[in-house]
């Protein structure tokens, strides 16, 4: 009888070299990155800035919050929501052809690769740069923001849409084709009815993201709550700036909550 009761499997040792190499690369990258850290201390005005921001929480600018004219906060919040809704709607429509182009069960493997690459390109292009491009085309204001969100969101929606098209039940499509249905009939009677709930759910999810994006577009002049925010920061009205941030957080949280409830019901 052997002394060993059982033979334990040997520990895998093959990839130890690459693992160590990986750690070395990652740590040297992090050390390199920290060398770029140039802390120049806080500004002399920082304490005034921070106390001003706290003041914005403790004594919010009530007059500004209840001002219902075009210069008031409610108008800016509504404009932000309007930009997010319109931008999401535009991209929700535009993303469908892109998604079809990227689904290999619709257009075949090779075309789908091109479509997928196109969608990745759109997704990687920053929306703020798009907003700046559109500002120089349609001028500063909400329409530039809508266009920027409308184009940029195609990147994410197109990807999610095409994934749900690729995972749908292909039988319905084949049944229609075998009865002599044409491409349009296949699209409207087989593809879209199946994926509609998922599409709607993704679109709502993108709407939540676009709400956050729409609030930053104003920083570059594309409408929404970011515009009064950047004006308040530049004119050093910290109480007002922080009031805007608090209202923004509350608005986004409410919209997330409502949209999340609807999404749970949809799928």
């Amino acid at each position: 009888m052997s002394e060993k009761i059982m033979n334990l499997p040997k520990k895998p040792q093959t990839n130890k070299f690459y693992k160590t190499l990986g750690y070395i690369v990652v740590f040297s990258l992090i050390i390199w990155a920290f060398q770029g850290l140039n802390y120049k201390g806080v500004m002399e005005t920082a304490s005034g800035t921070i106390s001003g921001m706290l003041d914005g929480v403790l004594n919010p600018d009530i007059e500004y919050i209840t001002n219902t004219t075009i210069d008031g906060l409610p108008n800016a919040v509504l404009e932000t929501i309007a930009i997010a809704i319109s931008g999401t709607f535009v991209s929700g429509i535009l993303a469908i052809p892109f998604a079809l182009l990227a689904s290999q069960n619709i257009v075949g493997e090779n075309v789908a690769k091109v479509g997928k690459f196109l969608i990745t390109m759109i997704r990687t292009f920053p929306e703020l740069i798009l907003a700046l491009i559109f500002i120089s085309v349609v001028g500063p204001g909400a329409p530039a923001g809508i266009l920027a969100l409308g184009i940029h969101s195609i990147g994410m929606l197109g990807k999610l849409y095409s994934e749900s098209i690729e995972s749908m039940d292909i039988g319905v499509k084949e049944a229609l084709e075998s009865c002599g249905g044409n491409k349009a009939e296949v699209l409207f009677r087989a593809v879209l009815p199946q994926v509609a709930p998922e599409f709607l759910s993704y679109t709502l999810f993108r709407f939540e993201i676009n709400m956050r994006a729409a609030s930053t577009l104003g920083l570059v002049g594309a409408g929404g709550i970011g515009a009064p925010l950047i004006f308040a920061i530049r004119s050093r009205r910290w109480d007002r700036a922080f009031t805007i941030v608090v209202v923004l957080v509350i608005t986004v949280t409410i919209i997330d909550f409502v949209s999340g409830k609807i999404r749970k019901k949809l799928v």
């Binding site: 990155a33 920290f34 319109s86 740069i129 085309v137 909400a142 956050r212 970011g226 050093r236």
Partner: protein
């Protein structure tokens, strides 16, 4: 047997009032938004030639010689993203343990921690950056602090959700042998969530690279600052070059990072 044995089967269509009402309400929301924001599709289409002219000025003859001036700010952007996500991950780990209701079984700890995390995630990085520029002055440090807070919120949320969905058998095994909380953490939780945690950190890094590229627009360092300066002087050939270089850099980083992430999980 009665004569009327064959009855007509009538399937009543369900009343679709609710459905139509919903459609009408959504249409009202969309049209109302477009009207409120002053969005006019015809005006946009009318300006299409201007769009093309701008795109031509940006991308047909970009200033290739300007590339050498872009590399420095681009590397600074990547450094900002690395530091931001690294620090964010370090702070996120203990905080996500506090937020997970299967590790700290105390609602009065979980709920406030989650609330704070939600608030952090709601404030866009660009807004954070413009506030921090006022505190730390113009430069990359303000941007790094903004990215740190943003990635902290993101990584914490994803991680605490992973912790809550771990296989609980390992935890129970250790507890039944008399293991302490620290031993549960060391031998049951960390081994299970480490790959996901690293993957989330990489994901935050990807998001940060994209965010860092525009933070400079509010003065928070990186390539955005170069971009803003050239745009102010309307040097579109340089702006085009900056867009192209940063776009390619983001594509490469995304590609590498998402491949590593696929291997991790």
């Amino acid at each position: 047997m009665s004569e009327a044995s064959v009855e007509k089967i009538v399937v009543e269509k369900p009343l679709r009032i609710k459905f139509y009402f919903t459609i009408a309400f959504v249409a009202f929301l969309i049209l109302g938004s477009a009207y409120f924001a002053g969005f006019n599709i015809f005006e946009v289409l009318g300006n299409l030639d201007q769009t093309l002219r701008l795109l031509k000025r940006l991308f047909i003859w970009p200033d290739w010689d300007y590339t050498s001036n872009i590399i420095g700010p681009l590397l600074e952007t990547v450094q900002m993203a690395i530091v931001g996500s690294f620090l964010g991950a370090i702070v996120a780990f203990p905080v996500s343990l506090l937020a997970a209701d299967n590790f700290i079984e105390n609602k009065y700890v979980n709920t406030p921690v989650r609330l704070v995390l939600n608030i952090f995630r709601t404030i866009p990085a660009l807004v954070l950056a413009s506030l921090f520029v006022a505190v730390f002055g113009i430069g990359s440090f303000a941007g790094i602090v903004a990215l740190f807070i943003f990635s902290f919120g993101l990584i914490s949320k994803l991680t605490y959700e992973s912790i809550e969905s771990i296989d609980y058998g390992q935890v129970e095994a250790i507890v039944s042998l008399g293991g302490t909380k620290m031993e549960v953490l060391r031998y049951a939780i960390i081994p299970q969530i480490l790959p996901q945690f690293m993957s989330y950190t990489l994901y935050a890094f990807e998001v940060n690279v994209r965010a860092a590229a525009v933070l400079g627009y509010v003065g928070a360092g990186g390539i955005g600052q170069t971009y803003e300066r050239n745009l102010a002087f309307r040097l579109f050939d340089r702006v085009g070059m900056i867009i192209i270089v940063s776009f390619v850099a983001v594509l490469i980083i995304d590609f590498i990072s998402s491949n590593i992430r696929k291997r991790l999980v």
